[in-house]
């Protein structure tokens, strides 16, 4: 049968990491169980204060061997209140990958049997959420030097959401054109989608509300 990581060892590894992380300042970690259609999976879910983020990131990388930054999401909660006006969600994975060794001039690929992985070898997902208070220029410490994979993710988050990353070298627009006006970050909630909440297809198929001067005409 196809070999997969056993759910129990993943759960155990997640719990041990969560308890280790909870002992840090400003960090509270727990294991949340998710479903994936048919398989359950256990994710280490961490809430961190933005001041302690850099320390947590270094701890994750050095002590827990988290070597892969998957995605950085920025969310704007204008109705979240003073505590959670902005949120940055990081997704990491601990993959446990190292360069395959070279024996007698030939590389030996590392073939691991996922069913036998235990403890710190088990691949894990880690989700870190940082809530930022109400402010006009939200910022978080950058982890560009810890995981290079965070580099373009941070650029994209700033480009689209507007959350700045302190210490990021070479911040620039990546998905929007370079000459986008300063301060324009489309995923903030004050920017409405054209026809946000308005189903043009059903309510105004001919588009008259868009251009009132055309009302009455048959297009």
């Amino acid at each position: 049968m196809g070999k997969i990581v056993s759910a129990s060892s993943q759960k155990a590894a997640a719990e041990s990491m969560a308890s280790a992380l909870s002992s840090m300042d400003g960090v509270s970690a727990e294991v949340s169980e998710r479903t994936s259609g048919t398989n359950p999976r256990n994710v280490v879910s961490v809430d961190c204060a933005s001041d302690n983020w850099r320390q947590l990131a270094e701890c994750l990388r050095v002590e827990h061997g988290v070597d892969y930054c998957s995605m950085i999401t920025g969310i704007h909660w204008p109705e979240g209140g003073a505590e959670k006006n902005w949120e940055v969600v990081y997704h990491f994975m601990r993959m446990g990958i190292s360069n395959p060794p070279v024996v007698d001039g030939m590389v030996q690929p590392i073939i691991t049997d996922p069913t036998t992985l235990e403890g710190t070898d088990v691949p894990l997902e880690i989700e870190v959420r940082i809530a930022l208070p109400e402010t006009t220029d939200p910022k978080v410490a950058s982890v560009q030097d810890i995981w290079v994979g965070a580099d373009w993710n941070e650029k994209e988050t700033w480009d689209l959401v507007g959350i700045d990353f302190e210490g990021h070298v070479g911040m620039r627009r990546v998905l929007q054109p370079h000459e986008t006006p300063v301060g324009f970050h489309p995923l903030q909630k004050q920017h409405k989608l054209r026809y946000h909440d308005f189903e043009e297809m059903y309510d105004d198929a001919q588009g008259f509300l868009r251009k009132p001067s055309d009302a009455g005409k048959i297009k």
């Binding site: 590389v107 995923l187 909440d197």
Partner: protein
């Protein structure tokens, strides 16, 4: 060739590349923003159009994330049908890549050959999904329709024919000294460096490690099938273009075997037909997400690990997700591939970029 629209600025010294800077965003369509105003079912169509060459993997990646958000359990038959669709799509995506990589290196014939086999896969996917490219196939909680009548027979015939034809592509590439001198020793990349940069999928497995999201963060019914993660033995200095080419050929084989096996193992047999809406095919799913919930899912896309993160809306806006965040493997791999090019010749640029299999649709979203 048919990778998509983007700019790569290179600084050259004669014919040697000294510095590179990729420039993306030409087909940025604002999918993440649009999805905030769409129902969970409507978003599936957008996800097909993220990477149009590999549409099924993206819509399934999204659907699993929604099922995590809404806490829905999927019936097993539906999981098998989804697996068949995803693996057929993986074969089609890799064939498209191979058909574009050949002309990049200079061989014009292989494009027609690969696209001809891809036609077979697209015929099968058309039977499943209704159209040749953007299928809108999965539904929240399962699939809409069962395997069509006679699908299993046609799929077996086509996939086994395809397994024979792979050997012809291998003959054309592996036995050609010119291909070997073009791709071996070009574009080295090492496994640890790749992981740190965020590169996964076939590009990482070409580096000699058998990391696959299907086994490490398991989903669907991959555990029920008898398969092994394809790994490539890279060269001593790292994985070069040749290794990345070979891993994808092996992946095509593995996916083809998985499809054949899934057709055998599917619960109640591949030839029984259930009406749409049958509980064997789809489970009842709530249409609104509970407040404060979030759902995420890592998925093995043809190009790497893709991920969706959905922040749910609650009663006030429960039908639409509050935020959809899409992780595109290529968005991260293209800057890495650009770094890989430094030190090689200008003529190596198509070889290296092509071997990483970029698809700009998912990069720019």
């Amino acid at each position: 060739m048919t990778h998509g629209l983007w700019t790569l600025k290179i600084k050259v010294d004669g014919e040697t590349v000294v510095d590179t800077e990729p420039d993306l965003g030409y087909i940025h369509r604002g999918v993440e923003k649009i999805c905030e105003a769409r129902d969970f079912t409507q978003i599936t169509t957008y996800c097909d159009r993220l990477c149009y060459a590999s549409a099924n993997t993206w819509s399934h990646s999204y659907i699993y994330a929604v099922e995590d958000l809404l806490e829905v359990e999927v019936p097993e038959r539906a999981e098998y049908i989804r697996l068949i669709a995803v693996e057929l799509q993986r074969i089609a995506s890799h064939l498209m890549w191979l058909g574009a990589y050949g002309p990049d290196i200079g061989n014009l014939s292989v494009m027609v050959w690969c696209l001809r086999e891809r036609e077979m896969m697209m015929d099968l996917l058309q039977e499943l999904g209704g159209s040749r490219m953007h299928y809108n196939f999965p539904r929240v909680g399962g699939v809409k329709r069962d395997l069509p009548h006679g699908f299993a027979q046609r799929a077996r015939a086509k996939v086994s024919l395809f397994l024979n034809r792979i050997q012809e592509y291998e003959a054309l590439f592996d036995e050609s000294t010119i291909f070997l001198i073009r791709t071996q020793g070009v574009g080295y990349s090492k496994a640890e460096e790749m992981v740190n940069h965020g590169v996964t999928g076939p590009n990482l497995r070409a580096g000699g490690v058998n990391y696959d999201v299907r086994t490490s963060h398991p989903y669907s019914v991959y555990s029920e099938l008898d398969w092994e993660v394809p790994v490539e033995r890279p060269s001593v200095k790292g994985a070069d273009c040749y290794d990345r080419y070979r891993i994808r050929v092996e992946e095509m084989r593995v996916s083809a075997m998985m499809v054949l096996e899934a057709l055998e193992k599917i619960p109640r047999g591949a030839d029984t037909y259930h009406e749409p809406g049958d509980p064997a095919l789809i489970a009842k799913a709530p249409s609104r997400a509970p407040e404060g919930a979030s759902g995420s899912h890592h998925f093995e896309d043809s190009r790497g690990e893709s991920m969706f993160y959905l922040a749910g809306g609650g009663e006030a806006r429960g039908k639409n997700p509050y935020r959809v965040s899409i992780r595109s493997p290529m968005f991260i791999t293209i800057p890495y591939a650009s770094k890989c090019m430094v030190g090689y010749k200008v003529a190596d640029i198509p070889a290296i970029m092509g071997s990483f299999d970029p698809c700009i649709g998912e990069t720019d979203r």
